[in-house]
């Protein structure tokens, strides 16, 4: 595109770019400051690096995990559990929400049960899960699904039920069947809610998988944290936490990317 902006517009654009650069500089600066202060207070002995760990010790721990080949093994284990749990809870949540949207009676019958299941701290089911699913990955995936599925269901049901009344009236006046109303209106108009549900559910999936690994596991990031805590290797705990931050952020941005691809046509 050829530019023929006025000087004022050029100033406006420059100002915006500067503002954006400033925000990014501050973001990175804040992180650098945090890491620098952390490193400094532990290096100077103001804080015990054995208890506090430090950025350099985290880097060393990462390197040694990488060297003995267990870094990607643990990441892979947790990532797989999280993704499977995330996928199952998303699919089941949407399916149940559709069912409840379809049948008003079913919705009213199940409402109190859903409310109770939502309020129940899922960790309370830990012992049951170990007995039912053993101590393998199945137990962790089940925990992940348990944490995510109710939230996904409630989120999507709210979205389906908040479909524009007038648009429903319009479709009914055209003689649309319930299935057509679902296909042409309810599902497409819930796209934005679907994306926001995915964002919430990413967080839920990580809560579920790490919680599951706390209860039963022989590998994974959650396992590293628990193990590190038990043997008082706080470097390992911090390193695992750092990895968790990276992975959760990565998955969140994957959803944001998906949103950009799916929601390109709806400008309003």
């Amino acid at each position: 595109m050829k530019h023929s902006y006025s000087a004022e517009h050029a100033r406006f654009l420059r100002k915006r770019r500067r503002k954006l650069a400033l925000v990014w500089a501050l973001r990175i600066g804040l992180l650098a400051l945090f890491l620098g202060v952390w490193e400094l207070v532990t290096a100077l002995g103001w804080a015990d690096p054995f208890l506090m760990s430090s950025p350099s010790r985290i880097a060393k721990t990462l390197a040694s995990l990488y060297a003995d080949g267990s870094l990607f093994y643990h990441i892979g284990v947790t990532l797989l559990e999280t993704l499977i749990g995330f996928a199952i809870s998303t699919v089941v949540g949407c399916a149940v929400a559709l069912l409840l949207w379809w049948s008003e009676t079913l919705k009213r019958v199940l409402e109190p049960y859903i409310v109770v299941l939502n309020a129940l701290p899922k960790i309370a089911l830990g012992p049951l899960i170990i007995i039912w699913f053993g101590t393998g990955a199945e137990a962790i995936v089940f925990m992940t699904v348990l944490v995510g599925v109710i939230v996904a269901t409630m989120h999507m049901l709210t979205a389906f039920l908040s479909t524009d009344k007038n648009k429903l009236l319009l479709l009914r006046s055209m003689g649309a069947s319930k299935l057509q109303i679902l296909q042409k209106l309810v599902v497409p108009s819930s796209l934005a809610s679907f994306i926001s549900m995915l964002k919430v559910n990413v967080g839920m999936a990580w809560i579920g998988s790490i919680m599951g690994e706390y209860i039963v596991s022989r590998a994974g990031i959650g396992y590293l944290i628990v193990y590190g805590g038990q043997v008082f290797k706080l470097d390992l705990v911090m390193t695992a936490t750092f990895l968790l931050c990276l992975l959760a952020a990565g998955m969140y941005f994957a959803v944001v990317l998906l949103e950009k691809i799916l929601v390109k046509n709806e400008e309003n």
Partner: protein
């Protein structure tokens, strides 16, 4: 003249846990083929109920509503689906009817082109002005080739200038396509400027209080009608009848 829509002694009662409300009682009228009938009434008289009855979305508690053919419903807002292009929006009633006929689609596109939407078929509703959107909504309604159009205050969400223009458009399009229409509105001047005949409803429970055949002759343009001497006379009469 053949009747396209006929209400015979219609009564409708709403039931809620708090009690029952009679929305209409002994309501009788008919809309002839090619006629443009406007219905006005005091607010809360159940105008939208009447349209739901006419569209067959509600069944009367007693009495009978008969329709010859299909209804097309046009609402206050355009209710275009933002995720569909204008063309896809216009095809919506055909999709719902599972219309396999290619002619129906090309007919709808022709209609859109004829009334100035040809360049916007691949646009999304958000890219169109309020007036254009309402026109697209009308084309969507007409695409189903309805035998009667039900118009539920279709201009009330527009600003005044757009409103006069869209009103003019709608009148031209409906007269041009020889459509039968039932307009429900609380706007007296809109009723006078568009219709062949005006019904005045009573407060709830609604029934027909007055029926007037307007005497504008061949003048169908709403703007021209507003300039005619008898316009203010009709306005005054209907105003008094509404507030009686």
């Amino acid at each position: 003249m053949k009747n396209v829509l006929c209400f015979t002694d219609v009564t409708l009662t709403y039931h809620t846990t708090r009690g029952e409300t009679t929305a209409a009682e002994g309501l009788s009228f008919e809309v002839g083929e090619g006629e443009f009938l406007a219905v006005i009434g005091p607010s809360g008289c159940g105008k939208t109920t009447l349209l739901s009855l006419a569209a067959g979305l509600l069944a009367p508690s007693s009495g009978e509503v008969t329709r010859a053919g299909r209804c097309g419903y046009m609402l206050q807002k355009d209710e275009l689906f933002p995720w569909r292009t204008i063309e896809k929006n216009i095809f919506l009633p055909l999709e719902i009817r599972r219309e396999k006929e290619k002619n129906a689609r090309s007919g709808a596109v022709e209609l859109a082109k004829k009334y100035g939407l040809g360049d916007f078929l691949q646009s999304y509703p958000a890219e169109l002005s309020g007036g254009m959107r309402q026109r697209a909504a009308l084309i969507r309604t007409l695409a189903a080739d309805p035998d009667i159009l039900l118009l539920d205050e279709p201009f009330s969400a527009l600003d005044y200038q757009t409103r006069l223009n869209v009103c003019e458009d709608v009148s031209k399009i409906l007269r041009g396509e020889h459509k039968t229409a039932l307009l429900i509105t609380h706007d007296i001047s809109e009723a006078i400027s568009l219709a062949d005949r005006v019904l005045v409803l009573t407060a709830r429970p609604a029934k027909v209080a007055y029926s007037h055949t307007l005497d504008f002759g061949d003048v169908v343009s709403p703007l021209k009608r507003r300039e005619m001497p008898q316009f203010s006379g009709w306005f005054e009469l209907l105003w008094r009848e509404l507030n009686a």
